[in-house]
């Protein structure tokens, strides 16, 4: 009953979904089966309520078999129940499994036509690639088949990278140039231009010079691109440095070459940590709070 309620509730919730049709069809099939079994047992007619009850019982029985077989299967770390799972389940449920073949081959059984399947939710087959692999010898054939090859077959889709330095540089250079040219042409076409030639103003178009209100900002501040480059090189260089230091250890205390260079143009001075901590207590008149006006100053 619990599972029925569950199934019912489930069905109710999915009342508007296409799966509802499926559930209804299944239930009708079960009713047909119950009716056939009743006929087989010699009943001429049955009350609708009785058929319903029997259907319900049948359904819960089958559901229980499925649930239980699934549990056994998962218990052995598999995903799809096998025959043995079903057998163990039947035994567990008190059914004599060995009577099943005989029962299946009984003479008076009625053949029920397969229920008309309406719109079974078909997952479209993904692209098929290559031959489906068969089971290797040590795996019983009842085990699930291999999935579609595309899910596990690796096919290299790139070519071998060109490692020739000259070609790489050449490509990088021309690629950059093409991008730049295309970009500047685009900008020139979409905006105002100046021209060097009077006869053909489209030849060598120059993007018109636009005065800016604060010209020093763009001229002095590094562009985002440059900053990005700087970050990248900085981090990579730091890595290099630490690597180098680790490798060399403390054997070389100072590099005369580097010192010389620093002496000539130390481009970045690093504030010592001690100094930095002192910053918190700086007494500088420009950092002091602005005083409130004194009342007596008023005239």
């Amino acid at each position: 009953p619990a599972s029925y309620a569950l199934a019912n509730g489930h069905g109710g919730k999915a009342a508007t979904s296409p799966a509802e049709n499926y559930h209804l069809a299944r239930r009708r099939t079960l009713q047909v089966v119950v009716s056939a079994l009743l006929t087989e047992c010699g009943f001429d007619s049955a009350e609708k309520a009785a058929v319903e009850t029997l259907t319900e019982m049948m359904q819960s029985y089958i559901t229980e078999i499925g649930r239980c077989a699934k549990a056994y299967c998962e218990h052995t770390a598999r995903s799809i129940p096998t025959l043995s799972d079903a057998v163990v389940t039947l035994i567990e449920m008190g059914f004599k499994a060995d009577t099943l073949p005989l029962y299946a081959k009984r003479s008076q059984r009625m053949v029920i036509t397969a229920p008309p399947v309406t719109n079974p939710p078909v997952t479209p087959k993904a692209l098929s690639a290559g031959q489906k692999r068969t089971h290797p010898a040590h795996i019983p054939c009842h085990f699930p088949e291999f999935p579609d090859p595309h899910t596990y077959i690796k096919t290299p889709t790139f070519r071998e990278p060109v490692s020739d330095y000259q070609v790489v540089r050449e490509k990088a250079a021309s690629q950059r140039r093409d991008v730049e040219r295309a970009l500047t042409r685009f900008m020139a076409k979409t905006g105002e231009t100046e021209s060097l030639f009077k006869d053909d103003i489209t030849a060598f178009p120059l993007i018109a010079a636009q005065p800016s209100t604060i010209p020093y900002l763009s001229a002095l501040l590094p562009s985002e691109l440059e900053l990005q480059t700087l970050e990248e090189t900085d981090s990579s260089e730091q890595d290099d440095q630490t690597d180098g230091e680790n490798a060399v250890g403390n054997m070389i205390s100072d590099d005369p070459g580097a010192d010389k260079e620093n002496a000539m143009l130390p481009l970045s001075a690093v504030v010592p940590a001690a100094k930095a901590s002192e910053d918190n207590v700086i007494d500088n008149p420009y950092l002091r709070p602005v005083k409130k006006p004194k009342v007596r100053r008023k005239k």
């Binding site: 000259q166 040219r181 060097l196 010209p215 763009s218 900085d234 000539m264 143009l265 910053d279």
Partner: protein, 1223 residues
């Protein structure tokens, strides 16, 4: 010499200023106006102080009170308009003397000022107790053109959001432009400064910020500064803006300010300032004199660096990020300069203008010491050589630079620098270029003194001066002590003699009291028999800018056995010097050769002369004389010197010498230097250009690939693919600079057809193509800019079919490639701007070169758009430079007008200064006196017309009164275009004799000309000048003969050899003597011409003109004030009843009129003076009076204008004032 021997400082004023309050209540950025008041506390030093003269320019003064009593005042600024009324004279001699007179008339160093306050009689009648006076002046400034500069970007938002700021600026003492003061470097006082600004702004000023207080409405705040150290008004400054504040992490008393968004740059750029501080404090053994220091970085700065008491204002363009290589040393140099001037210039001030050289010298000298310490000895010596070359070149071209001019009171006629077209009596009349050279010479002379007395003593002297000053500065109100903070030449020399015990008199006499440099020519012969080097050193001391040197000179001879120093005496008559050699010429092959520095090296001696042991000879290797040496030695000696002499100066000298020896050996020596990594990088850079020149000279015999190509490939290209340059990393700066320079030099190579070799061009194009900076932590913008410059250098003139229009179709294939690159670079710059837009700058000059060489149509519109306000200043200057060049080549008057318009109206002062400077350097046409081919003369150019003369005259006469530097630039331009005399393009003044002259012209041509050319020159040296004048009036343009090139001032002959030869050689000209001579010359000349032409008319226009004016002057005598330019001699002065103020000594400019009529003038003045006594009260109506005259003038015809020009000269202001206040 005539230096003041007395120890103390004598104030030219009858009072002593002790304290000044400056309070600016309101700064309105919208209207660009300022309102405030000042209060000066003064102690009278005379019993009856009845008037106070202060300096004030362009301020509107509302009221003046002395000790709470309203005081009458007169505000008159004669420099606003130098020559009043329309003057048709238009000659620069006249203008210069008038301008000098005008500046003198308000010179605070002579006790004068624009603002004269009459002390209320209640105060001075009180009797003889010398009471403190408090002078309170309320003033405002509305849209100031000078003194304060407002930068207000035109965007949305509040002023703070817009980054609007204002700052003070000026050339020399210019504080009077923004508040009334005694604008002299020698009047010290303590200061209280208050600035009320918007709450979002910061006001940075001199001294200590005591407190910041909100106003009652809390929308503004007041910054209270106190400067307890006595400071001169010109050292006071102010900067207000929404600055970002950075407290120096090393020195918390140092604060840096920059405009919004630039804080990261500020942090980086200021990260080494503490090192400079430490350095100066250590060498001077003296603490930084002020309690705090502030640096402010502003946009549109007047100069890159300007120092004021306890603060410096810098151009914001000096800020840079860590990615920029090239700007780093430049910025550091600027900081070091600013800091050096804090000690000498701000803290220690000068006593008078004549002592300026000491302060500039000392600050420049200690800055040099900083350079030596930070950038190394090589860099330092290279810099000294550079500076020496600069000053030598300038002096030889323009005439001498005089460090310590003496103007003895009695002899006003004495002009120490007659060769200049401006007066050096005042800083404000100096040409900017001259002042730069003056500073350069000053520090070089300090170095000479150091050579003489040792650095240790030198630093002791500085320390002594500083400690004297700091003792004096801590004295309160004992104002007489404060004069210890003023440095004079005399005190400095005395201190040197006390400390070192050495007499440096001759050195000072030679380089400080006298102008000009020494020019040596050296050659030698080796006497094998005597084993003696016979050295001959000759001097040229007759050309302009040269002087004679007598004294010791060091000669270094590198022989096989070592290097030997010899000190020779240069004497009057000895040219030859015998120097015994130490080594025998037989050489020991195994032996290493010892060098000067003790190093021993192996040399390949096969190149040298087998008979001589001499490897190379150097004259004055330590640069201890301000000289130019042209020394002759064999090419192999230069090559040895280049390879083995370790001094960078010697290496650079040999590189310049090797240009004249295009041989394979020279090539090898240069290539070796280029490859040698130990060699100083600037030497290697210079070697690149020399190699290019040599390769061009050897073009027919050159073997192998183009010069430097394989070298560059080896150094900077990939091993596996030599045509591809390595990706940039720039880790070694030396290599970086070389990598930048080599392509530029290579592009100068030319093949037999005089074209840039195809190889080289492709190579450079490949460098651009494969340039890859992605993995570099430094920016490559300077490198790319240099590559564009290389492309520019590769350009050669297009093969042109005459009058063919340049079109895209007939574009040369190579040029097309170049143009592609330039277009792409210039366009990319719009999307990803480079630091300081270096790439745009290079592209603009490249485009101009393409135009100039006829590859693309010549057109100015592109440059005009880049020159507009709103572009980065470097870009504007580059565009303007191209425009100036365009104007000259195309002779476009439209563009010249456009440039002049901008020079008058552009908001950025620096750009205006730059335009005039560039027009001077590359003038659209030149004056006829220039030794240029006859067809580039003034009169040939359509640009040279009356309208232009008028325009420029107006510009320098009244258009530039707010900026002394700009006015002097305008004077320079006028000089460059028209010379000293009346521009020849002007129509003849409408006087009777004009017709005669015109008649004469027809007569003159064939017959009299040769006579004129030969005859008079023989007799009077000045007649060249006379001829010039005569000829120029007779429309020279039709006769491009050499004689007419000699146009020059009457009585002011060019410094011709002839005249020089007549004066005693080598000695300073006797004061007065020159003038006397000139007077004679002038008269003689005039006479001569009359004689020659055998006609009655006087072709000396000026004389006629003047005498006309003279008569007119007599007629107007009763109404008109006299001119200060014609101040009576001192005898007359003593008769004036102005005992309190020393009468300024006006220079008697050497115009014939002034010399001729000197006597009469005295008379006028005298007369005039009495006249004024009678009509004291009339002066209040002075302005009306003037107006009347002006309107009258407009009605009257030219003739009248002419005559008035003379009588209305500059000094109406002065004479207006002086009699009115005398009792």
């Amino acid at each position: 010499m005539n230096r003041k021997k007395d120890k103390g400082f004598e104030s030219p004023r009858p009072f002593k200023l002790t304290h000044q309050v400056v309070c600016i209540n309101n700064i309105n950025f919208q209207r660009k106006s300022v309102i405030g008041f000042v209060e000066l506390t003064i102690f009278p030093t005379v019993v009856n102080l009845n008037r106070i003269k202060l300096n004030s320019k362009q301020c509107r003064i509302y009221r003046v009170r002395v000790n709470e009593l309203e005081a009458p005042f007169i505000y008159n600024d004669p420099t606003l308009e130098v020559c009043h009324h329309e003057s048709k004279q238009r000659n620069l001699n006249y203008f210069s003397s008038a301008y000098t007179a005008a500046v003198s008339a308000v010179d605070p160093d002579a006790g004068h000022g624009e603002l004269v306050i009459k002390v209320p009689s209640e105060l001075w009648k009180q009797g003889d107790d010398l009471k403190v006076l408090k002078v309170y002046i309320e003033f405002s400034l509305d849209q100031p053109k000078g003194g304060l500069h407002f930068v207000v970007p035109d965007v949305e938002g509040s002023m703070a959001e817009r980054g609007a700021h204002v700052f003070s600026f000026g050339y020399q003492n210019s504080t009077r432009f923004w508040f009334p003061c005694v604008d002299s470097y020698s009047e010290l006082c303590t200061w209280k400064l208050e600035f009320t600004v918007d709450a979002s702004m910061v006001a940075v000023s001199c001294g200590d910020l005591v407190e910041t207080i909100y106003t009652h409405d809390m929308r503004k705040k007041t910054f209270h500064y106190v400067l307890p150290i006595p400071t001169a008004a010109p050292n006071i400054s102010l900067a207000v803006g929404p600055f970002e504040i950075l407290v120096d992490p090393y020195m918390h008393e140092v604060t840096h300010f920059c405009l919004p968004q630039l804080l990261p740059l500020l942090k980086h750029s200021m990260s080494y300032l503490h090192e400079i501080f430490e350095f100066y404090e250590e060498i001077l053994t003296c603490r930084y004199p002020y309690a705090c220091f502030k640096t402010v970085f502003v946009d549109e700065a007047y100069v890159q660096v300007s120092s004021y008491a306890s603060m410096s204002i810098f151009s914001t363009n000096l800020l840079h990020s860590a990615m920029i290589i090239d700007q780093t040393p430049l910025t550091r140099r600027c900081l070091a300069q600013a800091l050096a001037q804090q000690f000498f210039g701000c803290f220690i001030s000068r006593m008078s203008w004549a002592d300026e050289w000491v302060l500039k010298g000392i600050s420049g000298y200690i800055y040099g010491l900083y350079l030596k310490k930070t950038f190394g000895v090589n860099e330092y010596r290279h810099w000294i050589k550079e500076e020496l070359d600069k000053i030598v070149e300038y002096e030889l071209k323009m005439g001498g630079v005089l460090l310590h001019p003496t103007f003895s009171g009695g002899k006003e006629k004495d002009n120490p620098t007659p060769h200049l077209h401006f007066s050096i009596k005042h800083p404000h009349t100096l040409s900017w270029e001259y002042y730069k050279m003056f500073q350069c010479k000053a520090h070089l002379v300090m170095r000479l003194i150091e050579n003489r007395i040792s650095m240790e003593f030198m630093l002791q002297v500085f320390n002594k001066l500083l400690s004297l000053a700091s003792t004096a500065s801590s004295q309160k109100y004992q104002s007489h002590m404060w004069s210890q903070m003023l440095l004079s030449t005399h005190a400095f020399l005395k201190s040197i003699s006390n400390v070192s015990g050495k007499d440096i008199g001759p050195l000072i006499k030679q380089w400080v009291d006298q102008s000009a440099v020494v020019k040596f020519f050296g050659s030698f012969a080796f006497n094998r028999k005597r084993n003696v080097l016979e050295l001959e050193i000759r001097q040229d001391y007759t050309s302009s800018g040269t002087q004679k040197y007598v004294g010791p000179i060091k000669v270094t001879v590198q022989e096989l056995d070592g290097s030997f120093n010899h000190t020779l005496q240069i004497e009057e008559n000895s040219l030859k010097h015998d120097i015994p050699c130490h080594s025998k010429s037989r050489r020991n092959k195994k032996k290493k050769i010892p060098l000067m520095n003790g190093e021993e090296v192996d040399m390949d001696l096969s190149a040298m002369d087998a008979d001589s042991p001499l490897l190379w000879i150097r004259i004055d290797p330590d640069m201890s004389i301000l000289r130019k040496v042209e020394f002759e030695q064999a090419d192999f000696m230069w090559q040895y010197q280049l390879r083995y002499e370790r001094d960078v100066v010697a290496q650079e000298e040999s590189i310049s010498a090797l240009e004249k020896f295009p041989t394979a050996a020279s090539r090898l020596a240069l290539t070796d230097i280029l490859e040698q990594e130990q060699c100083f990088y600037k030497v290697r850079m210079q070697a690149c250009f020399c190699l290019a020149k040599i390769a061009n000279a050897m073009v027919s015999t050159w073997q192998g690939p183009p010069a430097m190509k394989s070298l560059f490939t080896r150094m900077f290209c990939c091993k596996s693919c030599p045509n591809i340059v390595k990706t940039n990393h720039f880790l070694s700066f030396q290599s970086y600079f070389l990598q930048k320079t080599m392509p530029v030099a290579m592009a100068l190579l030319r093949d037999v057809q005089n074209l840039c070799p195809k190889d080289v061009l492709n190579f450079i194009l490949d460098l651009i193509k494969y340039n890859d900076n992605r993995k570099n932590k430094f920016s490559d913008n300077y490198y790319r800019a240099e590559l564009i410059e290389a492309l520019t250098n590769s350009l050669t003139p297009a093969i042109s079919i005459t009058n063919e229009v340049r079109t895209v179709d007939n574009l040369n294939a190579d040029v097309r490639l170049i143009l592609e690159e330039i277009t792409r670079f210039l366009n990319m710059e719009k999307l990803l701007p480079s630091f300081r837009n270096t790439i745009t700058v290079s592209c603009l000059s490249a485009i101009r070169q393409l135009q100039k060489n006829g590859h693309i149509p010549s057109d100015a519109s592109l440059f005009k758009s880049y020159a507009k306000y709103g572009h980065f200043v470097d870009v504007r200057v580059a565009a303007l430079e191209a425009l100036v060049d365009y104007t000259r080549v195309e002779r476009s008057s439209v563009d010249l007008q456009w440039l002049l318009e901008m020079a008058q109206n552009d908001p950025a002062h620096y750009v205006r200064h730059k335009i005039l400077g560039m027009l001077c350097k590359n003038p659209p046409f030149t004056k006829t006196t220039d030794p240029a081919p006859p067809f580039t003369k003034t009169t040939d150019s359509a640009l040279c017309n009356e309208a232009l003369v008028d325009q420029l005259w107006k510009l320098m006469n009244s258009g530039t009164s707010h900026d002394w530097r700009l006015r002097c630039d305008a004077v320079n331009l006028y000089y460059a275009l028209f010379g000293l005399t009346r521009p020849s393009c002007l129509p003849l003044p409408e006087l009777g004799l004009v017709l005669n002259l015109k008649e004469k012209k027809a007569v003159l041509n064939p017959t009299i000309k040769p006579e004129l050319g030969v005859g008079p020159v023989m007799d009077t040296p000045a007649s060249i000048g006379i001829h010039g004048v005569g000829m120029s009036y007779s429309a020279v343009d039709e006769e491009p003969d050499p004689i007419s090139l000699g146009v020059c001032g009457v009585g002011q002959p060019p410094l011709s050899l002839k005249r020089k030869a007549e004066t005693p050689l080598g000695s300073p000209p006797e004061p007065g003597q020159i003038l006397q001579q000139q007077e004679d010359d002038a008269r003689g000349g005039r006479f001569k011409i009359r004689f020659n032409t055998m006609e009655d008319e006087d072709i000396d226009m000026e004389t006629v003109h003047d005498s006309q004016a003279f008569i007119h002057h007599h007629l107007n005598l009763l109404e008109r004030p006299s001119t200060p330019g014609k101040e009576p001699p001192s005898v007359e002065q003593s008769m004036l009843s102005m005992p309190a103020t020393p009468v300024p000594s006006f220079p008697k400019e050497t115009t014939p009129l002034s010399s001729k009529h000197g006597g009469e003038h005295g008379h006028h003045h005298h007369h005039h003076h009495h006249e004024h006594k009678k009509k004291k009260k009339k002066h209040k109506h002075k302005h009306k009076h003037k107006h009347k005259h002006e309107s009258k003038d407009k009605e009257k015809d030219r003739e009248r204008d002419n005559s008035q020009a003379y009588s209305n000269s500059p000094a109406s202001g002065r004479s207006l004032r002086s009699p009115s206040l005398s009792d």
